[in-house]
């Protein structure tokens, strides 16, 4: 009996025996298609173009698993690729680990694997190591994924909080809040239809292009959980510098803003999965902006603010549409829908 005749994942599929073997050979390998993985060794032997590398890992527990603009498989691959890129590395290889709840539908697993595989292929980052575990019903929520990645550091690129200086500009490559709002309206308890799509995308190609062609990038980060607000506050805390951003310059899709307004969310606190914030020298800002805007994943890029003198303590300050000022705080970490 091949695994294809089974429609749900069984505990045995994670047991390391015949069913695991079948799962890997018949369902996983054919999708992920590469020689290193095909060896099924305990560890992947790698020949990287440089010994100066970056390494990153992230786990994905997103619900719902499938959403407008992507799914957990695509997300897992893009997420780690992006983390490597914003650290100044060209993503080279990925590892993919699955923890699946017993009873999970096979066809959904196939879809997720295909998605992960396609995304990895499109970005030329093979998945060279993997693992599959199956846990009892209730011990995991359908499927959890971990990806880890290695990237080779781009020569001459050395990003860090310590590079940030007064006068530096902040650039974002597009609209904020799309992912978080797209996800939330598909949650069971919230349920509304939206034209919104997650911005889930691998921005490594654009990021590497910027880093390889224009000097002047001091620091980059992808504003995922906690949104732009969290990322800017992290920068301020770690660098000791203050940041000033201008509300009118922050790109937001009207649909995303309206969705946030319906629920009482602050769009600055909402997650993004295809965005990066770059802190760059003032002389390089316009060139970097142009480069972004000429790329499909950066057409809505904007300079949103700058690094400014700190008065008493480092803060993120927002200049509002009416010319007022307010502090942008580190978000609590979990937005709740409000009526008041």
């Amino acid at each position: 009996m091949t695994t294809n005749a089974v429609d749900k994942i069984l505990l045995a599929h994670g047991g390391g025996g015949r069913l695991t073997d079948q799962l890997i050979r018949h369902n996983i390998l054919p999708k992920l298609k590469n020689d290193i993985l095909a060896e099924l060794a305990d560890a992947a032997k790698l020949e990287l173009s440089s010994s100066s590398v970056c390494f990153s890992t992230d786990s994905y527990v997103v619900k719902p698993l499938f959403f407008n603009g992507g799914d957990i498989g695509k997300l897992a691959v893009c997420g780690t690729i992006n983390d490597l890129a914003v650290a100044g590395a060209k993503p080279a290889v990925l590892g993919l680990a699955l923890i699946i709840e017993e009873g999970f539908e096979f066809r959904l697993l196939e879809k997720i694997l295909e998605s992960a595989a396609d995304t990895a292929k499109q970005n030329n980052v093979p998945i060279v190591a993997g693992d599959t575990k199956v846990v009892e019903t209730g011990a995991a929520d359908k499927i959890f994924i971990n990806t880890a990645g290695v990237g080779t550091r781009l020569p001459g690129v050395d990003l860090g909080f310590d590079k940030i200086a007064l006068g530096d500009k902040l650039i974002i490559n597009g609209t904020i809040g799309d992912h978080g709002m797209a996800i939330i309206c598909q949650r069971e308890d919230i349920k509304f239809q939206s034209d919104l799509e997650s911005d889930c995308a691998a921005v490594a190609e654009l990021v590497c292009k910027i880093l390889e062609s224009i000097a002047g990038v001091k620091f980059m980060r992808d504003p995922t959980r906690g949104g732009l607000a969290a990322t800017l506050n992290e920068i301020v805390i770690a660098s000791g510098h203050s940041i000033e951003i201008t509300e009118a310059d922050i790109p937001v899709k009207p649909t995303a803003q309206a969705a946030a307004d319906v629920l009482g969310f602050d769009i600055l606190n909402v997650a993004n999965e295809g965005k990066f914030v770059a802190v760059v020298s003032p002389e390089s800002a316009e060139n970097i902006l142009s480069l972004c805007r000429n790329h499909p994943l950066g057409k809505d890029a904007q300079i949103i603010g700058s690094v400014v003198r700190t008065a008493d303590a480092p803060v993120v300050e927002l200049i509002t549409r009416i010319g007022g000022r307010r502090i942008v705080q580190m978000p609590y970490g979990h937005e709740l829908p409000r009526i008041c």
């Binding site: 308890d189 509002t320 009416i322 307010r326 409000r338 008041c340």
Partner: protein
């Protein structure tokens, strides 16, 4: 839009110069407090205009005792607590609904979701935390009426709806109040109508201007208040013509009256205010969760040092409370002014410059 802002600001500047004294304007509504802070409006006003943040945040005026009752009910596995997200982080005497991590506490976006929960879970009793002013009260009335019509007896309401006008009057009767005018809540006014504020103008000669929550709305509202103060001609005026009418929403008012009647209630910091709350009428008493479960809301003691009451009356600003920013922060809130995302203290903490007051 900028033009209109400049015009309003110019008017305010002019009036401040002419009057030569501080002008104290109270925004009654918590959503106004937050909108004012989020848009950084305070910093753009002439220095002689002082904004007082009033007790219009229903979370702020909800006693810790109410949360204690909800927490107690959440202990009962046959109960499902249905609540708007706003209530999840309000502290009771010992913790909040969020910290309880109970599977039987569900966040709902509408009272209709709460009623649906009751229909979907016939073996359980749903307790809907019905908080809010006249804007939200009709939504509760609709589902109570529906529950009665359809015989959905496992649906109950833990009612804490409050009425805005008695509170406004009580504030003006406070001995040390400094209120020169009210910026009136836009969405409450959609329900009660702008004419509802006429008695305040008549009795207390204070301008009552209704405004929405967009920054331009607030600025225009403040401009209109200044205009009235300069001419010493207080009146009721609305700048929220997109949705507010003098009579309000008659259907909503009628539905409220069908299900609720006025009752006395305690407000944090203001004490007892007559007729300031909505209580379910006798014919709907079976949907009253307090009665169904034989519970009483015990007014919880204010924590020593917590000055939320004075803040709600606009008598002091948050930085004047010794606990503000130190023992009382959004992550470790002591009183409701800090807990509620609309609370005066939370707004000050989040949006005003650290170390400096907003003006």
């Amino acid at each position: 839009m900028l033009e209109q802002i400049y015009k309003a600001h110019a008017l305010m500047d002019e009036v401040c110069k002419a009057l030569g004294r501080q002008i104290n304007i109270m925004e009654v509504c918590g959503t106004h407090t937050v909108a004012i802070f989020r848009n950084g409006i305070k910093g753009t006003l002439p220095p002689k205009i002082k904004m007082l943040s009033g007790p219009g945040c229903p979370v702020c005026v909800t006693d810790a005792g109410y949360i204690d009752v909800a927490l107690k009910l959440a202990d009962d596995k046959s109960v499902i607590i249905a609540t708007y997200g706003d209530m999840m982080r309000v502290p009771g005497t010992n913790g909040s609904l969020e910290r309880k991590h109970s599977k039987n506490v569900k966040v709902v976006l509408s009272s209709t979701d709460a009623l649906q929960l009751a229909q979907d879970n016939p073996g359980k009793t749903v307790v809907f935390l019905a908080v809010g002013f006249e804007t939200t009260t009709p939504a509760t009335a609709v589902v109570v009426r529906q529950a009665a019509e359809l015989g959905i007896d496992n649906f109950t309401v833990l009612a804490a709806h409050k009425r805005i006008l008695p509170a406004m009057k009580a504030l003006l009767c406070e001995k040390n109040h400094k209120i020169d005018a009210f910026l009136c809540p836009g969405h409450v006014s959609v329900i009660i109508g702008s004419d509802a504020y006429v008695p305040i103008v008549r009795e207390f000669a204070r301008p009552c201007v209704v405004a929405g929550f967009e920054p331009l709305q607030i600025i225009e509202g403040l401009g209109e208040i200044c205009r009235q103060l300069a001419k010493q001609e207080p009146e009721v005026k609305s700048v929220y013509n997109a949705v507010v009418t003098p009579q309000g929403n008659a259907t909503a008012q009628q539905i409220i009256n069908q299900c609720f009647e006025a009752a006395d209630s305690y407000w944090r910091g203001l004490g007892k205010i007559n007729n300031s709350a909505f209580r379910l009428k006798n014919q709907y008493a079976r949907f009253d969760a307090f009665k169904r479960f034989g519970l009483e809301e015990k007014g919880a003691e204010d924590v020593t040092g917590c000055r939320c009451g004075e803040i709600l009356c606009g008598l002091i600003d948050p930085p004047q409370c010794a606990m503000f920013g130190k023992t009382c922060t959004p992550d470790t809130p002591v009183g409701p002014c800090m807990v509620s995302s609309e609370g005066t203290c939370a707004a000050w903490f989040k949006y005003a410059r650290k170390g400096k007051t907003a003006q």
